[in-house]
Structure formats: structure tokens, C-alpha cells
């Protein structure tokens, strides 16, 4: 027992001060993409061809990036004109699928809180059932890490629970494999209403790296009504936490 106390003393305290204090992210972290201002060269459509996942589109001669599809690749090949960069902004969660369309010069419409009635129900206690449906274990790991003492998810009243019957919502990761479809839907069904649905990671939002595979889905919103989209491959843990807190109206 004394050894435990001695070791505990040596390890010190690590609980972070988020959200009162902003997280300290590595210099090379790739957050919210930045589209350089200004017109694209006439007739240039290389971003539409060069992004392997089709995350870039042109609207009125302006580039838009679908953050639900973007993998925040370190060596983003989409624009040889250097119009795409990455900022250190980790806040990416939104409420609607369309809000993930990033236009140059326009801020992202970050997630609004739940409607007042749902907030009254879940605002101080949100229990989530996590389902991995074709996830590579990176999104899963970054959800799991929220339970560790640095993030200490419990202090926000949020908890991952072992049964859908105990849950207020479902948090889905993975590219929605064909083989997981029925188990995923059954888990959703087993959650009592009202319930919320959260899609975490590029795979759950739009198939991720496996977009187009016959064994992968096209996005969770085709199967279930999604209340929160958290993009990234995988999203930084703070991106996930920020999204959850916004949904509960605890940030903004």
C-alpha cells in the first residue's frame, strides 16, 4: 500500500484543464484545412482529380473541401498550386453533413447544442454506446483515451457504457462494413428513445480510406439520423471531446 502511495506521488497529477485551457498540440498537427484565398487558375480542376478520395470540389470556380471525406493527409496531393494547407485548429465537429463542406474564407459552422428538451435530458449525464463497424482501432483508441486521467471524460458527465440499454446514444466508428450493418442497426434499435447518433472519423462519415469498396458503406447518415459529425482520420481526442461538449452546450 505504501508503495502504491509512493508511486502515485511520484507520478504526479495529469488531469488537463480543458476546456478552460486550450490544449497544447504538436507543431506538426494537421487541423482544419486552410484554402488559400484568391481565385483558382482558369479551368484548373486538378484538385477534383488528384484527391484520391474525391474530397475536393469546385463551386463557382472556388475550391471546397468535404471535411467528412478529407483524411488530413500529411502529403495532401490535391493541389500543386499550394492552395491547401492545414491549421492547428482542432475544432471540427458539426451538426449537419452539409456543414462539413469547407469553403475558402468561411468559418466552419461548429456544432450547435442539442435542442433544449434533449439538453435537459442529456446535458448533465450522457451515456454512450460505442460501436466499431470496420474501424481500424485508431478512432476507437482515441475515444478510449478520453476515459484516461488526462481527459477524464467522467467530469463532464459523459460515459461510455457496456449496454445499449443503458445508453442515451450511439457513437459509431469505422467504414460501416457490410458484415457489421445488422449488428449496428440492432444496437441502435436497442437504445431507448430519445437517442442521439454520433459519427466519429472519416470512415463513419463517408467511408474514409475504404470509400468505394463494395464491403464498406457510404456514410452513417445514409443509415441513421446523425446528430454530430466529428471528422478526422482519426480525429484528435480533443476534437472528439470538443464536439461532445459543444453538443451538450458546454462550449461555445
Amino acid at each position: 500500500m505504501l508503495r502504491v502511495i509512493a508511486e502515485r506521488y511520484r507520478q504526479g497529477s495529469w488531469t488537463g484543464k480543458f476546456p478552460t485551457q486550450e490544449p497544447c498540440l504538436p507543431a506538426r498537427f494537421r487541423g482544419l484545412p486552410i484554402i488559400a484565398p484568391g481565385e483558382c487558375p482558369d479551368g484548373c480542376r486538378e484538385c477534383m482529380d488528384l484527391c484520391p478520395f474525391g474530397a475536393c470540389k469546385l463551386r463557382d470556380g472556388q475550391m471546397t473541401i468535404d471535411l467528412g471525406i478529407c483524411l488530413f493527409c500529411a502529403d495532401c496531393p490535391a493541389c500543386t498550386q499550394g492552395k491547401i494547407g492545414f491549421s492547428a485548429d482542432y475544432r471540427l465537429a458539426v451538426r449537419r453533413r452539409e456543414a462539413l463542406q469547407l469553403h475558402g474564407g468561411q468559418p466552419l459552422a461548429l456544432a450547435e447544442p442539442l435542442a433544449p428538451d434533449l439538453r435537459r435530458l442529456f446535458g448533465r449525464s450522457l451515456k454512450l454506446r460505442q460501436v466499431s463497424a470496420g474501424g481500424c482501432n485508431a478512432c476507437e483508441a482515441d475515444c478510449n483515451v478520453l476515459g484516461t486521467l488526462v481527459f477524464d471524460l467522467g467530469r463532464f458527465g459523459i460515459q461510455f457504457v457496456a449496454s445499449p440499454r443503458h445508453a442515451d446514444g450511439i457513437l459509431v466508428t469505422g467504414c460501416l462494413t457490410e458484415n457489421m450493418r445488422s449488428a449496428l442497426l440492432a444496437t441502435y434499435e436497442a437504445i431507448p428513445t430519445p437517442k442521439i447518433v454520433i459519427a466519429v472519423g472519416a470512415c463513419a462519415i463517408g467511408g474514409g480510406p475504404f470509400r468505394g469498396s463494395s464491403e464498406a458503406g457510404q456514410g452513417l447518415d445514409a443509415l441513421l439520423p446523425v446528430d454530430l459529425f466529428i471528422p478526422g482520420c482519426p480525429p484528435q481526442p480533443y476534437t472528439i471531446l470538443d464536439g461532445l461538449l459543444r453538443l451538450l452546450g458546454k462550449r461555445g
Binding site: L71, C73, G135, N179, R211
Partner: protein, 515 residues
């Protein structure tokens, strides 16, 4: 540097090397079977075994099979190749390590290994040869995951426990079927495939623009392991090697990946026992190692770090010094957390003699990595098939003895110490030079293999190229593919309440298995 012996019809190849396909003779099936089994009896083991549709369809030939046998004693791989019709004699009864590989071939190409003692689907996808199904199912319908006959024990007091695919924690999906007598597990059958993303079919005709990102997500916790294996295949096919500085940075990433996962595993085991101090400490420390990887490349899982031809990120003196200082601080806490765990009698009482896999069972099943080493089987490709910087830096392969949960846990503790040493050495003496030299065009009609020691064990990638250098077939073997059977065997005769502990002590990948 493959050595081809035309007289004996044997081909040997080194790790990361390529050989022209035409130099691998197509043996008659009985000669092939005899060669593979002789290798096995002589102490080699199956590294990878897979089917490829024949290039020129001929009468009576449905499939070619390649067997790659790892030969630790020679530091090389023997390749055998044969062709089969719709049915072939199963080699599993004589070589149990083949059981999943043969099932996989049956599922993928609808051919039947006759005499296979356990012929069931592996991942539950439709056959890749429409109209041919090993179980006679309708090939136009996607099979239902888990739809197979499970092994059942009958009798008084026997009951069955089914768990999954959705588990209680934040875990990937899989189905476990226990046959129990009271608390005692008589048999555990593990049925996976829920994570199947169809990757190997997607890779045909590659490399595609999306291939890199798919390789990095075969198993997200082994991003660097799989990506290094892939990069080495590309470099092998291009006849080049990554520059030495890049190899050092890759090793840095690989050892950080090992540290993050091993530390996390000790924390998870601690949590399952209910020993919360180490569980809490390690949960935080795991993140510290991930954040060191993020300092290198911006991603906690090493996305973007490894690229064919080298690495995507360099580090300057300042970052190296910074990482060394961080390592120093984290090391003290890591070793403190581990010491506390392994010095606590109530912890040891829970770990020892639980979920034992004997050395001979581990060898029969062809276990790899931590699970094999814990049972006393020397298996570490950093030691036996070293490439890159490991040719000079790795001489400390660790094995344990008893093959129980304790041994698998202690393996991690001891590997943590070694990895920290390797990282310190690498950071202090990073070789100078470029970090990336773009590989040239891929050699056509070639066979290339690479093996990388990921944190769970060996990651094996094989590519066969077409006339134009594109992938005719790309085969991926995650260490979990070999090791899931080990978990099933470890549970035999033990209490069902030991399952979480046994499972954590293996901590296998579902998506790496399911690809």
C-alpha cells in the same frame, strides 16, 4: 539477392527482396506438398500462404498457390508454387499452421481443400470467383457474418456462451462462442470477419492513389508496422532501399508504436485485474508515447510518417533533443508503473498459470511475436530477418518460458525496456543524409516479400506484379492472423472469467485479421 537453385526447384529470398516470377517453378501439387511439409518438419514455418488466379487460364487450373516458409536458421524465406483445380488435398492435418490459410483460400476462390478438419469461412465475403463457392452457397448473395456451424459440446450441465460481435467496451467487433461446463471452458471458437473491408481485392491493379492511406489503416494501432512493410515491398520491387536516415526514423516510429501499445496493454491488464494505480498511470503514459509520434509527424498513430522511398518527415537536432528529454521523463514513470504492477503479489497471483500456451502448441499453431516469445519460441524478425537499421541495432531478442498471461505481460515489460534503449540510441546518433528518395518504376512480373516486426509480431506483405508493374495480387498477413488460434487454445480448461485477461494478454487486431 535471391538465390535461385534451378536444379532443386527451390527459391530462397531475403527479407524485402524480389524475384522474377518466372524463376519460381510451378511444381506438381504432390511435389509442392512434399516440399512444404519437409520444410515444416525441418523447422521452418508458414509465413504466408495464398492463392492467385493463373495468368493464362489453362484447362483444369483454377488457381496457383504460393507458400512462403520462414527459415529462421537461414535468415531467408523459401518459396514454393503450385497450381490446383477445383479441389486439392488439404495439408492442414500434417501442418496445423496452415488451417486458416487454407480456409482463406477456399473462401476467396471457391476451391475446396479436401480433408481439411475445420473448413469454415474466415471473413464471410462472397467468393472472388463468381459462381464458385467452397460451401456451395449462392455466390450472388453476400454471406451473413457468423453464419456457420459452430463446434458444440453436448451433455449434462454443458452450456454455451455467445459474446459479440458488439462487445461491452470500446472494442472492435468479433464473435466468441464458449462451450462451458460450469465455469470451465471446454472450447472457445472465435468467428471474425465483421471488420472485413475488402482491402485485398481493392489493391488488385494498384498501387492506386488511395493505397497509401489504406495501408496505414489496415490496423490503425500498427500504422507504422504495416506502412513500413508496404514501403519495403515498393522499394524491393523498384530495386532500391530507403536512405539510412529514413530507416532510422522508421525504426524510431516503429519502436514508439511498440512502446505505446505495450504500455497501454499493461495498463489494460491492470484494469482488468482491478489494480487501478498502474491502469491509470499507463493509460496516461500510452498517450505520451503517441504524442511523441505526433511530434514527429503530426499524427498520434504515425499517419504520414513512413512513405515508399523513405519517410515523410525529418527531425532536426532540436526536435531530437526534445524527444530525448521527453523520453527521459516518461521512462521513469513507465518503469515505475510497471515495477509497481509486477511487484504486487495480488497482481502476480492473478496472472500466473492463467491461459497457458505451451511451447509445442505455440510452434504447432505458428504463433508469432509477443505470444510466441512468451511461450519460449524465438520469433522476432528484427533478430532473424533484420533489415534497415535493425541490422546493427537489434541484438536483444527476449523470450519467456511459461506462455501464461504473466509471461505475455512480462514480455511487454521487458520489450519496453529494450525499445526505450533503441530509441535513445537512434535519437543520439541519427545518421545524416536525405530522408526520401523516390523509388523508380516497379519491376514487372516479380514477387516481392517484406516482413516487419510490428508490436504484436511479424507483419508480412507480398506483392506479385503484372506485365506493367501493377499489383496482380497483394497479400497482407497481420500477426493476429496467426495468433487468434493461440487465444482460443489458451482458454481451454480455464475458467470463463479468465477470458478478459487472456484476451488482453494477446490483444489481437480484428481489422488486421479481417483486412
Amino acid at each position: 539477392m535471391s538465390i535461385v537453385n534451378g536444379i532443386l526447384n527451390e527459391v530462397w529470398i531475403g527479407n524485402g527482396k524480389q524475384v522474377p516470377l518466372e524463376q519460381i517453378p510451378i511444381l506438381a501439387y504432390d511435389i509442392f506438398a512434399d516440399s512444404v511439409l519437409t520444410e515444416y518438419v525441418n523447422g521452418s514455418r508458414v509465413a504466408v500462404y495464398f492463392g492467385v488466379p493463373p495468368e493464362n487460364p489453362a484447362e483444369g487450373v483454377s488457381l496457383e498457390i504460393f507458400a512462403v516458409m520462414a527459415r529462421e536458421r537461414h535468415s531467408d524465406f523459401a518459396i514454393y508454387r503450385t497450381s490446383i483445380g477445383e479441389r486439392f488435398q488439404s495439408l492442414t492435418p500434417n501442418c496445423p499452421q496452415l488451417h486458416l490459410f487454407e480456409r482463406e483460400i477456399a473462401e476467396q476462390y471457391g476451391v475446396v481443400p479436401e480433408g481439411h478438419p475445420w473448413l469454415k469461412p474466415v471473413r464471410f465475403h462472397a467468393s472472388w470467383r463468381p459462381g464458385h463457392d467452397a460451401w456451395g452457397r449462392d455466390t450472388s448473395i453476400h454471406p451473413l457474418a457468423g453464419a456457420m456451424d459452430f463446434y458444440q459440446v453436448n451433455g449434462d450441465g454443458i452450456h454455451e456462451v455467445a459474446v459479440g460481435p458488439v462487445h461491452a467496451g470500446i472494442i472492435e467487433p468479433g464473435h466468441f462462442r464458449f462451450q462451458c461446463y460450469g465455469e470451465k471452458v471446454l472450447h472457445l471458437e472465435i468467428s471474425l470477419g465483421y471488420q472485413h473491408r475488402g482491402l485485398e481485392t481493392t489493391l488488385i491493379g494498384g498501387p492506386h492513389p488511395a493505397t497509401t492511406m489504406q495501408m496505414e489503416t489496415i490496423a490503425g494501432d500498427t500504422t507504422i508496422g504495416h506502412m513500413t512493410a508496404y514501403s519495403k515491398v515498393i522499394e524491393g520491387l523498384a530495386g532500391s532501399e530507403a536512405p539510412v536516415r529514413a530507416q532510422a526514423i522508421r525504426a524510431l516510429g516503429l519502436e514508439l508504436e511498440r512502446l505505446a501499445n505495450h504500455v497501454g496493454d499493461i495498463g489494460a491488464l491492470s484494469g482488468d485485474i482491478g489494480f487501478l494505480p498502474t491502469a491509470s498511470f499507463c493509460g496516461r503514459l500510452r498517450g505520451d508515447y503517441l504524442n511523441m509520434t505526433a511530434a514527429l509527424c503530426g499524427s498520434r498513430f504515425g499517419r504520414g510518417l513512413v512513405r515508399p522511398g523513405g519517410v515523410g518527415f525529418d527531425l532536426d537536432r532540436e526536435l531530437a533533443t526534445q524527444l530525448l528529454a521527453r523520453l527521459e521523463a516518461v521512462e521513469t514513470h513507465t518503469l515505475g508503473a510497471c515495477r509497481l504492477f509486477f511487484d504486487t503479489p495480488s497482481v502476480l497471483a492473478r496472472l500466473e498459470r492463467v491461459g497457458r500456451v505451451t511451447r509445442s502448441t505455440a510452434e504447432d499453431l505458428g504463433l508469432v511475436g509477443v505470444a510466441a516469445k512468451a511461450s519460449g519460441v524465438p520469433r522476432d524478425s528484427r533478430f532473424f530477418f533484420p533489415t534497415g537499421i535493425y541490422r546493427e541495432t537489434f541484438d536483444e531478442m527476449i523470450t519467456d518460458e511459461l506462455g501464461d498471461v504473466f509471461a505475455r505481460s512480462r514480455m511487454r515489460y521487458r520489450e519496453i525496456e529494450v525499445s526505450i534503449k533503441i530509441i535513445r540510441r537512434l535519437l543520439a546518433n541519427l545518421p545524416e543524409g536525405p530522408v526520401r528518395i523516390a523509388p523508380g518504376p516497379l519491376r514487372p512480373n516479380a514477387f516481392c516479400l517484406s516482413m516487419v516486426e510490428g508490436w504484436r509480431g511479424e507483419v508480412v506483405h507480398v506483392a506479385l506484379t503484372e506485365e506493367d508493374g501493377r499489383f496482380r495480387r497483394y497479400k497482407i498477413v497481420d500477426p493476429s492472423f496467426h495468433n487468434w488460434s493461440g487465444l482460443a487454445i489458451a482458454m481451454r480448461g480455464t475458467q470463463i472469467s479468465n477470458f478478459p485477461l487472456c484476451n488482453k494478454s494477446f490483444n489481437l487486431s480484428y481489422c488486421g485479421f479481417d483486412v
